[in-house]
């Protein structure tokens, strides 16, 4: 495990030494503050639109950080040839995959924590209440979803040579699942065969990332998601993460890195 944590540490250092996160955070902060500064009918108690905008920006930024950081890991190591001095050490390829995943996930978690902290400050200053458990639940669910996304991107980065391909494809897949995941079965039932069967299969086989979007619960003050559902969703995310990481390991372990 020490090796995996050591690998993760390098990934985290890379994230906070690159400018991506700071640019996204500043952008999120500026847009949120601009939205909060707007005056609607001289009512300074209006807060939900600020929450909505801020959470949307957090979701977009966190996905950007997660996908872009992860998509670069293995290809950048191969291109920069830093993979060779690393694999010349007593570390297996599985440990490299695990270390990269853990580093990306922890780094994204730190970024999420900063974003949500900012969110809590801004909304709390208006609402004068801090439903911390709701925010923590939303943060955890988003972080769990990002674990699945990071593992998926890691898998993609093994097979697609260019990080840009991995990033584009993964963004489309994630956006598609988040937007259509809930409704895919409804859409499938309206299609003729064989499309109906294909879409139904996709619906049952894909990871349902849309479950982890608790923005509505936060924006509309709907309280907490039930704890059994929360735990099951966490387990579901862990299973899918494991599936993608295993597939990534299968692909990486026999890969010829010298070509």
């Amino acid at each position: 495990m020490n090796k995996i944590f050591a690998l993760a540490g390098v990934v985290i250092k890379e994230l906070y030494r690159r400018k991506d996160f700071y640019v996204l955070f500043v952008l999120t902060a500026l847009l949120t503050l601009a939205a909060a500064a707007m005056n609607f009918f001289h009512d300074d108690k209006i807060v939900r639109y600020v929450k909505d905008i801020c959470l949307l920006l957090i979701w977009v930024s966190a996905l950007l950080v997660a996908i872009v950081t992860t998509a670069r890991q293995i290809p950048a190591e191969r291109e920069a040839r830093t993979i060779f001095p690393l694999l010349a050490k007593p570390v297996s390829r599985g440990q490299v995959i695990a270390g990269k995943f853990l580093g990306c996930w922890l780094a994204t978690g730190v970024a999420l924590f900063v974003f949500y902290f900012f969110f809590a400050i801004i909304t709390g200053s208006r609402e004068q209440i801090w439903p911390l458990m709701v925010y923590l639940q939303a943060l955890w669910m988003q972080w769990a979803m990002l674990a699945v996304v990071i593992a998926m991107v890691l898998l993609g980065s093994i097979y697609f040579a260019a990080p840009s391909s991995t990033i584009t494809i993964c963004f489309i897949v994630v956006a598609g699942i988040l937007g259509l995941g809930t409704h895919l079965h409804t859409v499938a039932l309206q299609q003729p065969e064989p499309m109906q069967t294909v879409l139904t299969l996709v619906y049952y086989l894909m990871p349902h990332l849309e479950w982890y979007d608790l923005r509505d619960f936060v924006v509309y003050d709907m309280g907490l998601v039930s704890w059994p559902a929360f735990v099951l969703a966490t387990l579901y995310a862990a299973v899918w993460t494991g599936i993608f990481l295993l597939l990534a390991w299968f692909g990486f372990r026999r890969k010829n890195l010298t070509t």
């Binding site: 890379e14 001095p85 010349a88």
Partner: protein, 250 residues
């Protein structure tokens, strides 16, 4: 003396992704043995299979057939690399890390305790004369400095076997001298050094034994004196063994 590094009938084939392209055989049944405590030179013209052999030994590529082992452990096991140090020909390290951070990272990979890692890092930075630049990111280093940090990282675990891929390539005379001194020092400490090089003059000076490969086959192995028998020097012997025909000599 026991074999630290051993290959038996090692064969590596590269298959092209394109259809109807012939399989390229990089190594044809290589039998190699490096004993403990010796400095072993691994020679051959470009494309002979030296880098392929090293890639197999380091676990970068799997062999098509045959075996390779380090300290009696199959090279496909990560633990086989616990007691080795590796210096690649082209030194590329994480540019956003400082020299100290890089060495500390590799020390953690080897499982060195913190205190021991601190002590080794200090000594190595002094050895390679990078103490002043230790806290600067590697992206600000010159090529020579990057080569030196490469040497330092290859020694972080106090390896019993050092694998060097053309260690003096691209270095100035001072740098080459420094590398030779390090190899000699390691030999005096009883370590084993396995390195490839095109600098035959250097090989003659420091190696106990050499092996010459050509077109994936082992052509000669022995002491420098044994291989150079009947020739002016190692270079002439090398050229004859690889079948070089001079255009000027009748």
């Amino acid at each position: 003396m026991s074999a630290i590094l051993q290959t038996q009938k090692l064969r590596v084939e590269y298959r092209s992704r394109e259809l109807r392209q012939p399989v390229k055989v990089a190594l044809q049944g290589l039998d190699l043995e490096v004993r403990a405590g010796e400095v072993f030179g691994f020679l051959g013209p470009n494309g002979a299979g030296k880098t392929t052999t090293m890639n197999v030994l380091l676990g970068f590529i799997p062999p098509t057939s045959g075996t390779a082992s380090l300290f009696g452990i199959d090279v496909r096991q990560p633990i086989a690399r616990q007691r080795i140090g590796y210096l690649p020909e082209l030194t590329y390290y994480y540019k956003f890390l400082t020299a100290e951070e890089l060495l500390r990272f590799y020390a953690k990979i080897f499982g060195l305790p913190r205190a021991e890692a601190d002590s080794r890092i200090e000594k190595l930075l002094k050895l390679v004369e990078l103490e002043a630049a230790a806290k600067r990111p590697i992206k600000s280093y010159s090529k020579g400095m990057q080569q030196r940090i490469g040497i330092a990282q290859s020694l972080i675990n106090n390896p019993d076997l050092l694998i060097l891929d053309e260690p003096t390539s691209g270095l100035d005379p001072l740098g080459r001298m420094k590398v030779r001194e390090i190899i000699q020092r390691l030999k005096n400490e009883g370590k084993t050094v396995f390195f490839s090089s095109h600098e035959l003059g250097e090989v003659e000076t420091i190696c106990d034994r050499v092996a010459i490969v050509h077109q994936g086959e082992l052509k000669a192995v022995g002491t420098v004196a044994e291989i150079s028998t009947g020739h002016e020097n190692l270079e002439k012997a090398f050229l004859r063994i690889v079948g070089f025909q001079s255009a000027t000599t009748p």
